[in-house]
């Protein structure tokens, strides 16, 4: 056997004993480096190269017992609790939707809802077991593919109620939701690609944010664009704090926040100059208090909240208004206000406590990531979930935006439910395999690709 093959064979036997395949590359790399150091030392002592390699491998110890010891240490971090919480929340959502359907006497949605639930959970499990590091190996290709695919599906889309939908075999996919939930991961990939790109990197990321926002505004999905912009700026700031671009923190923060400050300045100026625009923008940020909208669905649902009891059905809301409620309105955007009115505050608080526990645990796991790649990908997803939950709550309590995305795991949505579950699966895959992700190795794969 050639001396190089002896080393390969040694590492192969060691890795054969380690059941978690994700750890193999790291183990081989470290063992090979060690053999190389030992070989060099032996050559310096007067051995010839082949002899030195053979002796160095022998010095390592029995590969079977080394492999077995490493197998005891290297295990994926099984995300049992997090998966359980996500599935529990999804079932709570389905059960709540079922109760609402029973309450409103319409069962037409149930079969479709059950299919979505099963598909969503299956996708979450699929993403959980996928090797997420593929995004880190080809971040720019993935970012570009997301833009290209978005443009292609936009051209194929149909317009329902003023928004773009993609109709596939009777399944209508909302492009607004799809883009809003996937774009944060795409921008995380772009941020990752820009390691040591300096200020140029920050500017290129801003170009990426602008292009993706433009696509969201074509849909149009203003609330999605707002969510996406906030998440992008947060990711950018985290990367600068971690000195990912190789720039000074203060200058980096200034450059990253400059477009935000500029955009805010323009909005404020326009508001001061134009009363009509001011009224319109304010209506998106604060509670409607205009009599004109008193009959609107929005105000009705806000009324429900104020008439809710601690437990059990609330009272005091005009029955003629209640009769106007449709399952569609409740399931998508108003599930919280309707549930609080129908079942009381207590069940809501319990469900939200589970959601909060899931979020806090996810943030902790996110901050424990050893690689910047794991941190950026998981952060982009958990921030998206936090943004959605916060916005949905504010909307349902009548103190938020005049538009909302979805309540992850709970509210109904062809696209939102499925994509949120898939993205949760991806985030849990980061928590599962993140320990073995190595930024330098991912970047060296890219360098080899570029050279090739």
């Amino acid at each position: 056997m050639e001396s190089k093959e002896i080393v390969e064979e040694y590492c192969r036997i060691v890795n054969e004993q380690v059941r978690w395949k994700v750890a193999h590359v790291n183990i081989s790399e470290e063992l090979k480096n060690h053999i190389d150091d030992q070989k060099n030392a032996l050559i310096q002592q007067g051995m010839d190269k082949d002899e030195a390699i053979e002796a160095a491998v022998k010095e390592m110890g029995d590969p079977y017992s080394v492999g077995l010891s490493l197998d005891r240490v290297h295990k994926p971090k099984v995300q049992g609790t997090m998966l359980f919480l996500a599935i529990i929340l999804t079932f709570i959502g389905a059960f709540t939707r079922y109760l609402i359907v029973e309450d409103l006497g319409s069962t037409s949605f149930m079969v479709n809802d059950a299919i979505l639930l099963i598909t969503g959970i299956a996708l979450m499990l699929l993403f959980y077991y996928l090797d997420f590091s593929i995004i880190g190996k080809y971040p720019f290709i993935i970012f570009s593919a997301v833009i290209l695919a978005s443009i292609v599906v936009l051209t194929m889309s149909l317009n329902f109620f003023g928004r773009a939908y993609l109709s596939l075999a009777g399944f209508n996919m909302s492009l607004g939701y799809l883009f809003s939930l996937i774009f944060p991961v795409a921008i995380a990939a772009l941020v990752y690609k820009m390691r040591n790109y300096g200020y140029k990197g920050i500017l290129l990321i801003w170009c990426g944010i602008t292009v993706l926002n433009f696509i969201l505004l074509i849909v149009p999905m203003l609330i999605g664009a707002i969510h996406f912009s906030i998440i992008s700026v947060a990711l950018l700031c985290v990367a600068i704090y971690k000195e990912w671009f190789g720039v000074k923190r203060v200058k980096g923060f200034v450059l990253s926040l400059f477009p935000v400050i500029m955009a805010s300045a323009i909005v404020i100026t326009v508001m001061i100059m134009n009363e009509k625009i001011k009224a319109r923008l304010l209506s998106g940020l604060f509670t409607w208090d205009n009599q004109e909208y008193i009959v609107s669905i929005r105000v009705l649902f806000n009324q429900l909240i104020s008439h809710a009891k601690f437990i059990g059905r609330g009272n005091g809301v005009d029955t003629s208004l209640l009769n106007r409620i449709s399952v569609g309105d409740v399931w998508t955007d108003n599930i919280v206000s309707y549930s609080v009115y129908t079942y009381g505050w207590l069940p809501f608080v319990i469900v939200m406590a589970v959601m909060l526990y899931f979020i806090i645990k996810a943030i902790k796991l996110c901050l424990q990531q050893k690689s910047i790649f794991g941190l950026l990908v998981s952060l982009s997803i958990i921030l998206s979930i936090i943004m959605q939950v916060t916005n949905y709550m504010l909307y349902n309590f009548g103190i938020g935006m005049s538009e909302t995305l979805s309540l992850p795991f709970i509210s109904y949505g062809n696209t939102a439910l499925i994509i949120n579950l898939a993205m949760t699966g991806l985030m849990l895959s980061v928590f599962r395999n993140g320990d073995e992700v190595n930024d330098s190795r991912l970047l060296s794969v890219r360098r080899i690709m570029t050279k090739g």
Binding site: I27, E30, L31, N33, H34, D36, D37, Q38, A41, E59, M60, G61, D62, P63, S65, V66, S69, L70, R72, V73, H74, K370, D435, N438, S440
Partner: protein
């Protein structure tokens, strides 16, 4: 040659002690331990790495990559706050153990009255 079972229990403490002075990569640790123990301890890489990876998992050490003078990337191990505490505990344990052993060896065993 020292009986291996005598050192196996204290290897973790020795590794943590080495890392107390500076960050090191695997090969460096074996060499340093060999040198500091007057060529007595000859730790195998196959013993060292599972131990180091276990310490990393338990939060006693962290790992970072750095390029050496010859341009090769190396994984350096660094002692954490938790690692320092574990080292101090293991040291106390070791002191009481050796004190007890020495006491028995030097003075003999008292079987009580």
């Amino acid at each position: 040659m020292i009986d291996k079972s005598l050192i196996s229990g204290s290897t973790t403490m020795l590794i943590l002690k080495l890392l107390e002075s500076k960050d090191m990569y695997g090969y460096e640790m074996i060499e340093e331990l060999h040198k500091q123990s007057n060529q007595t301890f000859d730790l195998k890489a196959g013993t060292l790495y599972p131990l180091l990876h276990g310490l990393e998992k338990n939060g006693c050490v962290t790992v970072y990559e750095s390029q050496s003078e010859n341009g090769r990337k190396r994984k350096y191990y660094q002692l954490t706050k938790n690692g320092k505490k574990i080292l101090s505990d293991k040291r106390d344990e070791w002191d009481s153990y050796t004190e007890a052993v020495n006491h028995v060896l030097k003075k003999g065993v008292s079987y009580g009255v």
